[in-house]
């Protein structure tokens, strides 16, 4: 009998520290499955962010490094230039990639570094207690926008994917979501393409993944998925951006 489903080799058999209903576990697994399928585990170097996913190296079973907050793409640039034969990806949250690391993100993309970026957008800072992120929606209540995000004082949600798509050196950007099995499958397909692009030396590729954070959205895990479907995708439409 043919075995068609099992634990990915690239994922350690341990339980995670993530909250119930968090999207990181799903995203970690999708990446591990893609790496197994592409048979690149022994070439992979991952750059973990500062944020909830900083401990990703406890869950993935391949070479990993930490990076200072926002600097993942600079660290990845240094690595890829030294080791072009390795497959190097960053896994970054919205605060890391689109606030403190905006400069690094834009310039790494603009140089066209042949890297893969998995950008987890959950519209909030998770690890530090649910503060406003650059991607927080208007009206969304967070620890630092107790009355909801307002245009007058906090501006609009930052659409970093659309912004990066303007750069000629950026080759692939897709926004996906984890709110339903169908969307999870689409997310995996996009992640696979972003890794294949690096293998085929096509260039800078990023997948923005809308991911639930029930804890800091003050919702149940089920409500959090529905909130992505009903509210978040209106601000952050899904699909291929570039």
């Amino acid at each position: 009998m043919e075995k068609i489903f099992s634990h990915p080799k690239s994922l350690r058999k341990v339980s995670t520290h993530y909250c119930p209903g968090c999207g990181h576990g799903i995203a970690h697994r999708l990446i591990a499955e893609v790496i197994d399928e592409l048979e690149i585990r022994e070439r992979i170097i991952a750059v973990a962010p500062v944020g909830c996913a900083v401990l990703a190296y406890d869950y993935w079973d391949f070479d990993c490094t930490e990076a200072a907050h926002g600097r993942a793409l600079s660290v990845a640039t240094g690595m890829k230039r030294i080791r072009p034969e390795n497959i190097i990806f960053t896994y970054q949250g919205d605060g890391d990639l689109a606030a403190i690391g905006t400069n690094e993100t834009i310039h790494t993309a603009n140089r066209g570094e042949n890297l893969t970026v998995i950008f987890i957008n959950n519209a909030v800072y998770g690890m530090t207690g649910g503060q406003m992120a650059p991607t927080t929606l208007l009206g969304q209540k967070t620890a630092t926008t107790p009355a909801g995000r307002k245009v007058a004082s906090e501006g609009y949600p930052l659409k970093i994917s659309e912004l990066l798509a303007q750069l000629p050196a950026v080759k692939f950007i897709e926004r996906t979501s984890l709110h339903s099995p169908q969307e999870v499958i689409k997310t995996k397909r996009a992640i696979k393409e972003a890794f294949e692009n690096q293998i085929n030396q096509i260039g800078f590729s990023m997948v923005e993944v809308l991911s639930p954070c029930p804890t800091y959205w003050n919702l149940s895990p089920k409500q959090a998925l529905d909130w992505i479907r009903d509210v978040m995708v209106k601000e952050f439409p899904l699909g291929r951006i570039k």
Binding site: R41, R71, T77, G78, N103
Partner: protein, 356 residues
């Protein structure tokens, strides 16, 4: 072995020194008075098939160095004072993750944007850690263009040996001046230093367990253990790596203490006064961290006093006082913000001290 005698600026000499030490990646960002360094690397590194990146910021540059160092390469960045302040975050992470890297600071006047004149006002920042956390970088201070070239190989060797960031502290005068130096070929340098294996580096986990580079340790007691490991390493460095040059320490009644550009100027002072029969000596620290305390532990009986000369308002002075332990008087002469103590000012100070 190929040896060439060339005329070159201090900045370019350090760049060539890094190349001859086998530096594989350089990332930098423009700032005066170190721009010749970056321009030299931009020209030479690609010719050699190595990596040059003009980063979008000092933060990006030091983190590119972090990435290259984590994947096993000899990597470096250079900057000047305000830029080095920006790099402190990355230097702290390098120290915490125990990664080897070299950072050159061609010091200029401060605080703030300051000016582009030579200064030695970043001594505290370099020797006390500079960034957050309990750590030290090894700090080397060349005083001539020739030493600027030579110390780069030493910097990379020490970085690899101890898996720690090494700072080379130059200044705007040393960086800009030209002197003849003798350079050796890369092959010679790299062979001589016998590059260490880096089994901890991130290369892809082929045929081994995954490697992880980290400085975050949340579980109770684990970070304290890392700190104790670091402290043990720093103690070993303090015991083994103190370097200095001593002139006339046997009979000197007044011993000048100076590094970098001020070591050159004080050397001329020592020569002039020795010619007149004055009992003057010099301690010229070559490592600033570890500070060469052993230079101050000479014959306990002979009375002497020290005169520290710096292009700052008394930073190395504190280390000299700690080394002397109150046994002898420690005097000070310093200028900063672009001011440079002259030979005459130093001689006047010595004359005043001799009269009292």
């Amino acid at each position: 072995m190929k040896r060439n005698r060339i005329l070159i600026t201090g900045n370019e000499a350090m760049a060539q020194g890094a190349i001859d030490a086998g530096c594989q990646l350089y990332a930098g960002y423009p700032i005066t008075p170190q721009n010749e360094f970056t321009a030299y690397m931009a020209r030479r590194m690609p010719e050699l098939g190595r990596v040059f990146i003009q980063a979008e910021s000092e933060l990006a540059a030091i983190n590119m160095v972090f990435g290259a160092a984590a994947s096993g390469a000899r990597a470096m960045t250079s900057s000047s004072s305000p830029g080095i302040s920006l790099k402190q975050e990355g230097i702290s992470y390098l120290a915490g993750a125990q990664l080897p890297a070299v950072i050159v600071n061609v010091m200029r006047g401060g605080p703030g944007l300051g000016n582009i004149s030579p200064a030695q006002s970043d001594y505290f920042q370099a020797t006390r850690g500079g960034g957050h956390g309990d750590y030290h970088s090894i700090v080397l201070a060349p005083s001539t263009v020739s030493e600027s070239y030579d110390c780069m190989a030493k910097a990379f060797d020490l970085a690899d040996k101890y898996r720690t960031p090494v700072i080379v502290l130059s200044d705007g005068m040393l960086g800009q001046m030209m002197e003849p130096i003798v350079v050796q070929s890369t092959e010679y340098r790299v062979q001589r230093s016998k590059l260490r294996a880096k089994p901890w580096a991130l290369t892809g986990c082929k045929g081994r367990k995954p490697n992880i580079i980290r400085s975050l340790y949340l579980a109770e007691g684990v970070l304290e253990k890392l700190n104790l490991t670091l402290q043990k390493k720093y103690k070993a460095i303090q015991e083994k790596e103190q370097r200095y040059e001593g002139l006339f320490l046997d009979d000197a009644k007044i011993i000048l203490v100076a590094y970098g550009t001020m070591a050159r100027i004080t050397k001329s002072v020592v020569k002039r006064l020795r010619d007149k029969g004055k009992k003057i000596g010099l301690i010229h620290p070559i490592t600033l961290w570890p500070f060469p305390k052993k230079a101050f532990t000479g014959k306990p009986s002979s009375h002497r006093r020290y005169l520290v000369v710096e292009m700052s308002y008394g930073q190395m002075l504190e280390d000299v006082k700690l080394a002397v332990e109150g046994k002898f008087p420690v005097e000070f002469l310093g200028r900063a913000g672009g001011g440079i103590p002259t030979e005459e000012q130093i001689i006047n100070k010595i004359v005043k001290l001799s009269n009292c």
